[in-house]
């Protein structure tokens, strides 16, 4: 642990050099911008900017790329909150309560909470990375497919809590999500499933296309259908009204801790998307909340938990990258290839052989998070002005940005058609009172869960005992069971109090 502190002091001496500091700020700024634009994700931006970094000092270069990576998580929430349009896959969960806060006139507070949650959880993640990187990396290795499967079961059981008024409708929505995620090529047999002969479906349905369709497009359609009844969203006046109130921040206390821990933990597991950590943090937040009824209607803690989680997730993802040279996802994969191109040797010896790079990067992440907070908080009133745009202009803008975003993800026009399809689907679901969150959750978790199950069974030669034999997996399954039983406990307690209060 002390090594970490000494290393960090050395790191700051690297990261605070003016030129390096400048690249950190540039990275954070770019990250914020691309976070706001749906379709253009951090992985694509890092890949496009890679050639530019070759004439730079490598430490400055990697610090800038990392800034883009975690900066995008800050920016992603902005459009989720203001327009119900997720800017990044990791900020889809932020739509649920963030947008409802904005509708209630708390857009500024929501943006503020997102920035604060991101800062708290992001910083927490880096502190853990500084102090515990090597032992935690060893711990993460004990995690394999059976543990992953159990973790996904926990995530999926949270659907029970995400459910709206009708459990049946939530279940149907979940099943559609699970089905959508099974479209595409089966990794284990190489055969395609549910492609209906469309070659465009061989790779499966793009997550961002579903999320933007079901949230943003469907929202525009509902608002237009509602006609004159819809008014401009209320925008508060006066700077003070833009910031979260004391009560709102107090409600988020647990969410900050929850988002930090869940995000970092899931982030350090290779193969887990950051959309997973934000949804799981959201589910947990609702599970333990004493005021579950407020979730989905603009609960500040329902925004703080996923926003915190997606930032802690990016610190978590740096752990396997820096300690083993193992990328946890697309963005870290391209950072890894950048390090190799620059002549570094990412792996267990990186920390010993290239301390300037390792500790400089870690220190820059502390600085980057402060920079992002400073950058984002004063921008809150500015961004909130978006809501002042007349709906006749705003709606076409949202549609335009969504369509361009969908096309940019894969460069296929088919994705634009899919976007329209999922927009209509989302609209019909809203009309018929089907909750959309279970569909998205099913889509996010279903794929990883199926894969983890089949991997576990190939490991054990088909013996399902592998899922409960292993202590970590068993613990998760017990947690899932408790979550599934929790509504029953509530009902029992209510029944008992009814009996007691009965005359």
């Amino acid at each position: 642990m002390l090594d970490g502190v000494y290393g960090l002091i050395h790191g700051f001496s690297v990261a605070l050099q003016p030129s390096v500091l400048l690249w950190c700020v540039v990275g954070c700024f770019l990250g914020t911008i691309i976070g706001i634009l749906p379709g253009l994700g951090p992985a694509a931006t890092i890949a496009i900017l890679l050639p530019l970094t070759f004439n730079m000092d490598p430490t400055g270069g990697i610090i800038m790329l990392a800034g883009i990576y975690y900066g995008a998580k800050y920016g992603g929430s902005t459009t989720s909150i203001l327009l119900n349009m997720p800017g990044e896959a990791s900020s889809v969960a932020s739509c649920i309560d963030g947008y409802q806060m904005a509708r209630k006139g708390r857009a500024g507070a929501a943006l503020g909470i997102a920035a604060i949650a991101s800062f708290v959880a992001g910083t927490f993640g880096i502190v853990i990375l500084t102090l515990l990187a090597p032992p935690l990396a060893e711990f993460a290795l004990r995690f394999s497919s059976p543990e992953f499967f159990a973790l996904m079961v926990v995530g999926l059981s949270l659907v029970v809590l995400l459910a709206g008024d009708s459990k049946l409708k939530s279940l149907l929505s979940l099943i559609v999500g699970l089905w959508l995620t099974s479209i595409g090529t089966d990794l284990f047999t190489g055969q395609s499933r549910f492609t209906f002969g469309y070659s465009e479906l061989v790779g499966g349905v793009e997550f961002m296309v579903i999320a933007v369709g079901v949230y943003a497009i469907a929202e525009v359609m509902s608002s237009v259908a509602a006609g004159e009844k819809t008014q401009l969203l209320p925008v508060p006046r006066g700077l003070r009204n833009y910031l979260p109130s004391r009560e709102e921040l107090k409600a988020c206390r647990f969410a900050f801790v929850n988002g930090s821990i869940v995000g970092f933990f899931i982030g350090m597991l290779p193969g887990a998307a950051s959309s997973v950590s934000s949804f799981v943090a959201y589910g947990i937040e609702k599970a333990v909340s004493k005021r579950k009824e407020l979730f989905g209607k603009g609960a500040p803690e329902g925004l703080a938990a996923p926003e915190g989680a997606n930032n802690a997730d990016s610190s978590g993802a740096m752990l396997p990258l820096l300690t083993f040279g193992i990328p946890a996802g697309g963005s870290t994969a391209i950072m890894l290839s950048a390090l190799i191109l620059w002549g570094f040797r990412p792996g267990p010896l990186l920390i010993v052989e290239s301390p300037d790079l390792f500790w400089g990067l870690v220190a820059s992440m502390y600085i980057g998070n402060v920079v992002l907070l400073i950058m984002n908080l004063p921008l809150v009133p500015l961004f909130a002005q978006i809501l002042r745009i007349p709906l006749g202009l705003l709606f076409p803008m949202i549609l335009g940005v969504s369509i361009v975003g969908a096309y940019a993800v894969s460069g296929n026009l088919f994705d634009v058609t899919s976007l329209a399809f999922f927009g209509v689907l989302g609209y019909v679901m809203v009309l018929l009172g089907f909750p959309t969150a279970p569909l998205i959750l099913g889509f996010v978790l279903g794929d990883s869960m199926e894969r983890a199950l089949r991997q576990s069974l190939s490991m054990s030669g088909g013996d399902p005992m592998i899922l409960i034999d292993r202590p970590i997996a068993a613990t998760f399954l017990v947690i899932a069971l408790l979550i599934l039983l929790s509504p029953l406990v509530g009902r029992l307690r209510r029944a008992r109090s009814d009996v007691v209060t009965a005359p």
Partner: protein, 325 residues
């Protein structure tokens, strides 16, 4: 009638002009798009951007080359896209071995790699069989013997069933009569983690990915899947040297064009990448990432792909994978 004659004459005249300009050396005008099948950060994407950056620095490229990501269905979306670009001279693509396998197993593919125009092969990719450093298996034979004694008990982490590591496993199992499980993971990171965590017993890994983990005493290389030992691992035997008389299953990356690419364009790009194969920054990048610099011209590449697909069809059918072409 008159109009028709005029049209005919004009087209003959135009064709004449084109023929003349073709005799003078053809060059692409404007931007050249380089299609890759992985998203930004994926294997071929990273490879493509790195070599284009190196070639730009080496001053080999005379135009702007832009990487275009056409993702979906492994390589299927990219191959279909090229199919639509038939005859285009400003679009080329980086193919990898998965382009050859995907068209064998995916019925949805509208075009296949055999419809495309081969231009030049760039590299062959060697691989290593590696185990955890504390594993009881010191040689690949130790492993196959143990797998033979306990059928289905030992595990290999790898990619899809049609990926090269699955194919090599099938070839080895057939050769030795041993039988071990294959656990598919979509990303390389998950495969290495499963090996490092002791959840699987062996893995076929890229040398650049394994090198640092071996140097840090985490992994041990047992054998290399290559025709000759690669410079970074002079002490590790090839499959043949380790006593496995199996055909080498190559994995390659190279340049292809859309169907019916005009011959003068093929000639231009062929020459361009021949020059690239000797340029300084490019060769250094290949050496750093332990890729085998293996240029082949258009004709050789065409024959290579045909033979490769034929071999793969036999191996995949033997392994019980449904082949559609």
């Amino acid at each position: 009638m008159k109009l028709k004659h005029v049209v005919a004459l004009t087209s003959i005249a135009l064709a004449g002009t084109f023929a003349v300009s073709a005799q003078a050396e053809w060059k692409p005008s404007g931007q050249v798009n380089v299609v890759v099948h992985t998203g930004p950060g994926g294997g071929t994407d990273a490879f493509g951007r790195a070599i284009l950056t190196a070639l730009e620095k080496d001053k080999v490229l005379e135009n702007t080359y832009i990487v275009q990501n056409k993702t979906g269905g492994g390589s299927t979306a990219a191959v279909n896209y090229l199919g639509e670009k038939a005859g285009d001279t400003n679009t080329i693509a980086i193919y990898s071995s998965v382009w050859v396998t995907d068209s064998l197993v995916q019925a949805e593919a509208k075009s296949t790699i055999l419809d495309l125009t081969p231009i030049a092969n760039l590299v062959l990719e060697p691989a290593l069989f590696a185990v955890k450093a504390d594993s009881p298996y010191k040689t690949l034979k130790d492993f196959t013997d143990a797998a033979k004694a306990n059928p289905g008990k030992l595990k290999q982490s790898g990619g899809s069933v049609t990926a090269r590591d699955a194919v090599v496993r099938n070839v080895l199992m057939k050769n030795t009569g041993a039988d071990w499980a294959f656990v598919s993971f979509p990303s390389g990171g998950e495969r290495v983690s499963a090996l490092l965590g002791g959840h699987v017993d062996i893995m076929m890994i890229e040398p650049s990915e394994a090198g640092e983990l071996i140097r840090a005493g985490r992994l041990r290389a047992l054998a290399q899947v290559a025709d000759a030992r690669i410079p970074g691992f002079p002490d590790v035997p090839t499959l043949k040297e380790a006593g496995f008389d199996v055909p080498n299953v190559p994995q390659a990356r190279g340049i292809v064009g859309p169907p019916n690419m005009p011959a003068d364009a093929v000639k231009y790009y062929e020459a361009l990448f021949a020059k690239a194969a000797k340029s300084e920054g490019y060769t250094k990048y290949l050496a750093d990432t332990q890729l085998d610099n293996k240029y082949m011209d258009s004709k050789t590449l065409g024959a290579f792909i045909k033979e490769y697909q034929g071999n793969l069809r036999t191996i995949l059918t033997g392994a019980g994978v449904k082949v559609v072409r």
